[in-house]
């Protein structure tokens, strides 16, 4: 029973990491950008949520009405910069790492190095949970799971059912050929990066609802998020969510059975094994995706 409860905790928490990984995975898969600035946007989303909820009295969840469009613009601008300077896949990693460091410093200067957290009256969700039979579902991570599923379903729908989505897939497979068929890859790239920025805003809000923020937080997220991207398959939308749930559930059960220290060991062993035996990710996708 305890193992199942631990798996539930882990899977719910993992879904949040899956949501964080979603924008990164799509940008890497379709645009060939390894955008560490995605973590900077998540951080900004979190801090803006705390600020807006605390100072303007907004519901934390409602803050995404402001933060999502704002970070859509930021994401789009970063991508426009990558396009403008024709940044390669590897250089995008280095440049965006610089952007992340700059953002961490800016956040430190604006909000201080101290932790930021919404007061219980501003963020009542933090202490709530749903109980079904003997099992408990903490409200913050349950909310994260709901958002993660909704965004993955939406992203999958756009990719499969819309012209823009199919164009993105074509572009992800072969830029030259896609361009020859008249696909405006610049506009598509900017839109996708903007959408990733908006998803970062949502992820930031969800993190702020569940835990305190410090400027250094992104460096605690990066390892697990990249593990999920790699296990889920780069650019594999549904795979990212599945990998998040898997990594979270495995971590939770391992932590209960062998102690929390064993969790990173198991998760990163999985990553190593996946890179050796299934570099395309653990989860199959339909042909053409």
């Amino acid at each position: 029973m305890s193992e199942l409860q631990a798996a539930i905790f882990g899977a719910l928490g993992g879904s949040l990491f899956g949501l964080m990984a979603l924008g990164l995975s799509m940008g890497w898969g379709f645009l060939k950008n390894i955008n560490l600035a995605h973590f900077a946007m998540i951080l900004l989303g979190g801090y803006l949520t705390v600020d807006l909820a605390t100072n303007l009295g907004m519901s934390p969840v409602a803050t995404i009405v402001i933060t999502a469009p704002l970070l859509f613009l930021v994401g789009a601008l970063v991508q426009a910069g990558f396009e403008r300077f024709d940044v390669s896949e590897f250089n995008s990693l280095l440049i965006s790492y610089g952007l992340l460091i700059i953002t961490v410093q800016v956040v430190t200067n604006i909000w201080t190095a101290d932790y930021q957290r919404m007061a219980p009256d501003v963020n009542p969700l933090a202490a709530e949970s749903l109980r079904i039979g003997p099992f408990v579902f903490p409200a913050p991570t349950l909310l994260a799971a709901a958002f993660a599923v909704a965004l993955v379903v939406l992203a999958q729908f756009v990719l499969e059912k819309t012209y823009a989505g199919r164009a993105l897939q074509a572009f992800g497979q072969d830029r030259q050929i896609a361009s020859a068929f008249g696909i405006d890859h610049r506009m598509l790239g900017v839109l996708l990066a903007g959408a990733s920025g908006a998803s970062a805003a949502i992820a930031g809000m969800l993190i702020a609802v569940g835990e305190p923020l410090i400027p250094f937080s992104p460096f605690e997220w990066i390892g697990r998020v990249f593990a999920i991207v790699i296990l889920g398959g780069i650019g594999n939308v549904k795979g990212t969510l599945y990998a998040g749930l898997l990594v979270g559930a495995v971590s939770g059960v391992v932590a209960l059975a062998w102690g929390p220290s064993a969790s990173p060991l198991v998760v990163f062993s999985l990553v190593v094994l996946a890179l050796v035996f299934r570099p395309q990710g653990l989860f199959p996708r339909k042909a053409g995706h």
Partner: protein, 446 residues
Amino acid sequence: MRRRAPVASLIAALLLVITACATDDTGGSTTVAPGTTGGPGTTVASSTTEAPSTTAGGPSGEPIVVGGTLALTGGLGPTGVIHQIAGQLFVDRLNASTGLLGRPVEWNLVDDASDGARIAELYEQLISQDQVDLIIGPYATPNILAAMPVAERHGYVLPQHTSVLAPAMTYACQFPGWSIGPEPNVFIPNQLADALDSLGGSVSTVGLVTNEGGSTSFVSYGPADNPDVPATDTILPERGYEIVADIPYPIGNTEWGSVATDLQDADPDIVVINGLGLEANGLIEAMNQIGFDPPMVFALFPAPGAVLSLGDLTDGVVSVSIFEPNEPILADMDPEAREITEEFSARVEEAGLPYTAFETQAAASWNTWEILTQGVEGAGSLDQQAICDYLHENGADLTFTGHVDFDPEVNNYWPTTQVLKQVQGGEWVVVWPEDSAVSPLQGPAG
């Protein structure tokens, strides 16, 4: 897709390194950041602040430069910045009075960005290239341990704020501003057991949860190379408290749900969290979410403001302290102590930080600056050996701790003044030992 595998492998390796470097250790408390950090490795303060006075009795002449680093950014930033504010306040007050040896003091403060690997290099630079007159330690045990060999090689006195790992601090001219005695691994569990004994047997089982970092692991299990040394895991059972769950966790742990579930299964009377910073918050919230409300919680080095931010959830939580600005305590002290705590709180508030109390971390910082300046004044010069000798022979009179003596036989760790504090009515109050208590220790809830 296969083309990506090498890049993915590279990223995975890179991120493992980043993740490993992204962790922290030691000594928690909440913090303060004036928001003026200049980035890793940069000098963020080099000021005499209140300009050297030319009035009678004020400092004059060439400034005496004190060099040091603090973790103003990075994982330790939330606590490192409190030392910045406390230290700057000390320097400002010093320069507003008589200075040091009649000269103004300039603090050459460098942000070490919580990067332990850079500490030795930065202290080497401060001493060899910047040729500072004096040095003061960085924040956090691993960083202090990294600075100590550099100070020893150059023969510099090293007053340091927060390393409580007494056995590891072997340099004869390092002087701690915070002491849990020469054996914190023995003192802390015994002090806790003493307090629990006073509750008349209502607590008998313990859930021990430990950050595997240096100082907290040391308190739970003793030194890694000598498991026979007594520590919490052996002392509490000897004192009649059965450990029904023993859960070590890695630095940067996120599996609080699993830890809480494990504790719920064990159902201890008290959960002892030998952890740092925000970790106690993570576990307390996770326990609350599954409906497990342990009768008592002890948190070793939590961020005190963060604990209070959880409201009723943390009422009754017990922790350690070397100073709390409780009114009865301030009333018994020199009026200067009240003035310092109020001025400190005003500066913290001005910086926009959520927790403004002058407590353990700030007091440790203040102690450290007092040790340094009293050593210099006592020696009457900037001669490092003379300063070291003076402190060994005379000790120091500390505003928030009283007189302390430094015995090199026990690595200069003075008899501790540590007390236990408890969240009562939304505030930290001193509850143990009884002769220092502002309020009685409250036992198991309900």
